[in-house]
Amino acid sequence: CVGINLRYRFHVSLLCKLVSCFGDRAGQFFSSGHTNNWAVLVCTSRFWFNYRHVANTLSVYRSVKRLGIPDSHIVLMLADDMACNHRNPKPATVFSHKNMELNVYGDDVEVDYRGYEVTVENFLRILTGRLPPSTPRSKRLLSDDRSNILIYLTGHGGNGFLKFQDSEEISNVELADAFEQMWQKRRYNELLFIIDTCQGASMYERFYSPNLMALASSQVGEDSLSHQPDLAIGVHLMDRYTFYLLEFLEDIHPASKTNMNDLFKVCPKSQCVSTPGHRTDLFLRDPGSVLITDFFGSVRKVELTMETINLTDPIDAESGELQKEMHTYADQLPVSEIIHQKPKQKDWHPPDGFILGLWTLILLVFFQTYGVKHLKHIF
């Protein structure tokens, strides 16, 4: 026989550039290009009088769960606990409509970040994925390049910033940079950003990454207003924009074909007093072809399994005696190490400003009373 050894070489050379994504519309299977859905719902304000922001977030949470996104794919951040607040006349409930028609707190709420854990830093860490290794799965956004993500923010905002916990702010530039980092790492397929704050449109002005669609409840210079107060609870229950958004979403079911153009019409100026805005120039698909359930629901793509593998080996019976492993509980904390620990040597720091100021004050008073010429008697 004669044999020849061939070497088959394949040379690949690519430049780092992004070509247009597929606009294939054939069949609903391929039209959206996503295989899973995530939602990040954030309420940024605390205190009892900001009840409406928690109610906003919980209503969107309720709609998103009802349309199919499971808790494992929802990151819910609530900056304060309204349901168990001491001032709540109806504990364990958060209502979204006067006359207490709709309790959006429900009985299976899963809050991932609560209270003081809702900070700008944690929010940006979730988006960019830079969480410490000890963070559990439920607190992470484990999206991939085929995930559609819905991000909903509500709270008090201004021109170019959003206030977190009444003590810090996130600016629109930081948010745009965070989305760009998500895009660089392909952490989303498409992203829908909804914000219900005063001057909300300023938060999406600086976006520059592809495949982002944004909605806001008011334009720059306008305030987003709340809907109606409830006299029994004593606070405003919801914001107008989210109230009408909830009404709109209650009509959507998992198989509905409503598209984004209808979402843009939610809450016109006559109902909302402020002018809702939206931004679609960075989005590659036409908004009329984007279904509401592409972001708010979780419609799975399904394929029938046509093949099977013929397995003929019988299952091995346990050979020899059963080797039962002895299981023991591992120590949760190294108790012996902790109680015998020596206190850590702290590094020496120079005295801080308060101490220095106090010393200066004492010296000044001293010289004031005794005068400088008496110094030579002292030293």
Binding site: C1, V2, G3, I4, N5, L6, R7, Y8, R9, F10, H11, V12, S13, L14, L15, L18, V19, C21, F22, D24, A26, F30, T35, P70, D71, S72, E121, L124, R125, G129, R130, L131, P132, P136, R137, R140, D144, D145, R146, V173, D177, Q181, Q184, K185, R186, P254, R300, K301, V302, E303, L304, T305, M306, T308, I309, N310, L311, I315, D316, E318
Partner: protein, 546 residues
């Protein structure tokens, strides 16, 4: 004299502020940024990849004349252009050496015993009249890395060696496309970087279905029993996993780590009501309603809280006694033989009917032993699809041997390794490049030493992986590409890189002006005063001189 002392004081204060103060302020407010190999990163970003596969072609007796056997072609290069959006691929064929052997059968048995290194192939060319292959089959692809190729009828023994080789080349290339890698495979692996409008639906479905390359995966087998009052189910999941699934996962261990667990869920219903088909007196689930089955179940499935690896869920659903038997119908209202379906990047569900285990008047609950071989056959097929092992249907005239007991042929593993290596290299390169860009753009981020070290090791691993791919060492290339991915991900997702230091310019001014302006005003004014006094003296001196 007082004025001289005053001037000296002002000058010395100004000197101290400028010489000592300004550098001190600069040093204490700058951020620590370790050095990054930016030029090497830019070099890598161009992503020039050469993939080479060693192919040994053995001509059986009866295909080549003894005179042709003596001729040894030295080099035979042929460039083939493949275009991916304006960039070019080159394919070079270089014959290396010839080998002689007595008979095809002995050779075949020799080669099936010995292990070819991963990434290489052996193609046997047999004469047209050989009876080893059935009539209409031209190519037979074996379980290991071997293939049988039938020489064409027009290639009679009298032709020259060059013509023979020229005739064989495209056919060998076709075999290579099926067994190793092809244009579509490589572009699908690179779909992270270059989103191309693909030619057909199949390639989109393929790229969306398989999980992305990850260092580990979690596999969960769940048994759903909605009706424990009627069925008492027994499944030997440990034995089944050990016998059927574990061999595949062991074979795939160079590609990724797998961890398996299993659970049983009681009273877990499907979210969809099945319809009763009176013609067959069975319950049916339409293909359209399958999409809504997964969501209600997923909430109850749970996952390992400690790891962030992607999860593959395999669910076995036993219909309750009132809705048995339950069959899945496709779009043409035909029963699906496997009675199973899968969802891209999620997992698979199989419906297992147990109504034949009992008659009308049996006492409930009934003890049922589930046939794990049948169940695992379906799950194994779904697992192959979800991991990206399955390729498209082979071209006409090809016959593919069924995969062995491990559920995975060697050449299928090679295919997976090729595409995973390319995917890993592309992803790691993108990560490193975007990290370098990000750190360059935002000047306020602190770059610690450990990040710089991770980046350097990622760059080194990438360079090694690229060179191993070029040399054709598939195993090493995959290993280096995995190391590159790990280092680059660790560097990119390091928690210390969070950029919370955005200072717009007006805020910077607002911070520094109240601190420095009150201090600088007296210094500047006194300096100006000194200068004007000096000038006045100079003017007074001048008339004196004259």
């Amino acid at each position: 004299l007082q004025s001289v002392r005053g001037q000296l004081a002002a000058l010395s204060i100004a000197a101290v502020v400028i010489i000592v103060g300004v550098p001190l302020w600069w040093r204490t407010t700058e951020t620590y940024r370790a050095w990054l190999p930016v030029s090497q990163i830019k070099e890598l970003a161009k992503l020039q990849l050469h993939l080479s596969a060693d192919v040994e072609v053995v001509f059986a007796r009866g295909t080549v004349t003894p005179e042709q056997q003596k001729k040894v072609p030295l080099t035979q290069t042929q460039n083939m252009e493949h275009r991916v959006d304006g960039d070019s691929f080159n394919a070079i064929l270089t014959p290396m050496r010839l080998s002689n052997s007595a008979s095809v059968e002995a050779d075949l048995s020799l080669h099936t015993l010995s292990e070819s290194p991963s990434g290489s192939l052996v193609v046997y060319v047999i004469p047209e009249s050989s009876s080893l292959l059935p009539q209409n089959v031209d190519v037979y692809i074996g379980q290991r890395r071997t293939a049988l190729l039938r020489i064409g009828s027009q290639m009679r023994v009298g032709k020259t060696l060059e013509q023979l080789l020229a005739h064989m080349e495209p056919r060998i290339k076709q075999v290579l496309h099926v067994m190793s890698f092809s244009h579509t495979d490589i572009t699908a692996a690179l779909s992270n970087r270059v989103r191309i409008s693909p030619g057909n639906k199949e390639s989109i479905a393929d790229s969306m279905r398989a999980f992305k390359s990850s260092p580990g995966y979690e596999i969960t087998f769940s048994l759903l029993n909605p009706d424990p009052k009627s069925h008492r189910l027994h499944w030997d999941i440990e034995g089944a996993v050990e016998t059927y699934i574990q061999p595949l996962l062991t074979k795939l261990s160079p590609v990724a780590n797998f961890s398996i667990d299993s659970q049983t869920l009681y009273y877990a219903m499907l979210g969809v009501n099945p319809r009763f088909d009176s013609s067959r007196s069975t319950y049916t689930l339409n293909a359209d309603s399958l999409a809504h089955v997964i969501n209600p179940v997923e909430a109850r499935l749970g996952s390992n809280a400690a790891s962030s690896n992607p999860v593959l869920n395999f669910l076995l659903y036993i219909p309750d006694a009132h809705h048995s038997p339950l069959y899945i119908h496709d779009h043409k209202k035909q029963q699906v033989p496997t009675n199973a379906f899968h969802s891209p990047r999620w997992g698979g569900i199989m419906v297992y009917n147990v109504n034949e285990f009992y008659e009308v008047d049996t006492v409930f609950p009934v003890d049922i032993n589930i046939d794990m071989a049948k169940v695992m056959g379906v799950f194994l097929a779904q697992l192959r699809l979800l991991l990206g092992v399955q390729s498209s249907t082979p071209p006409p005239g090809f016959l593919v041997a069924p995969c062995g007991n491990a559920g995975l042929a060697d050449w299928e593993l090679d295919r997976l390794m090729w595409s995973r290596s390319v995917e890993n290299i592309a992803t790691a390169t993108t990560t490193i490049t975007s990290l370098a860009q990000l750190l360059d753009q935002i000047g306020n981020i602190v770059i610690n030493d450990n990040i710089a070290q991770q980046v350097s090791s990622a760059v080194t691993s990438l360079q090694l992986a690229v060179s191993e791919l070029e040399a054709g060492n598939l195993g090493f290339a995959l290993q280096y590409s995995k190391e590159a991915i790990l280092s680059s991900e660790r560097a990119f997702f390091d928690p210390s890189l969070l950029h919370l230091l955005y200072f717009p310019d007006d805020q910077k001014f607002a911070i520094y002006i109240p601190l420095f302006l009150p201090m600088c005003v007296p210094i500047l004014l006194s300096l100006l005063k000194i200068v004007s006094e000096a000038r006045q003296k100079h003017r007074e001196k001048k008339p004196k001189k004259d």
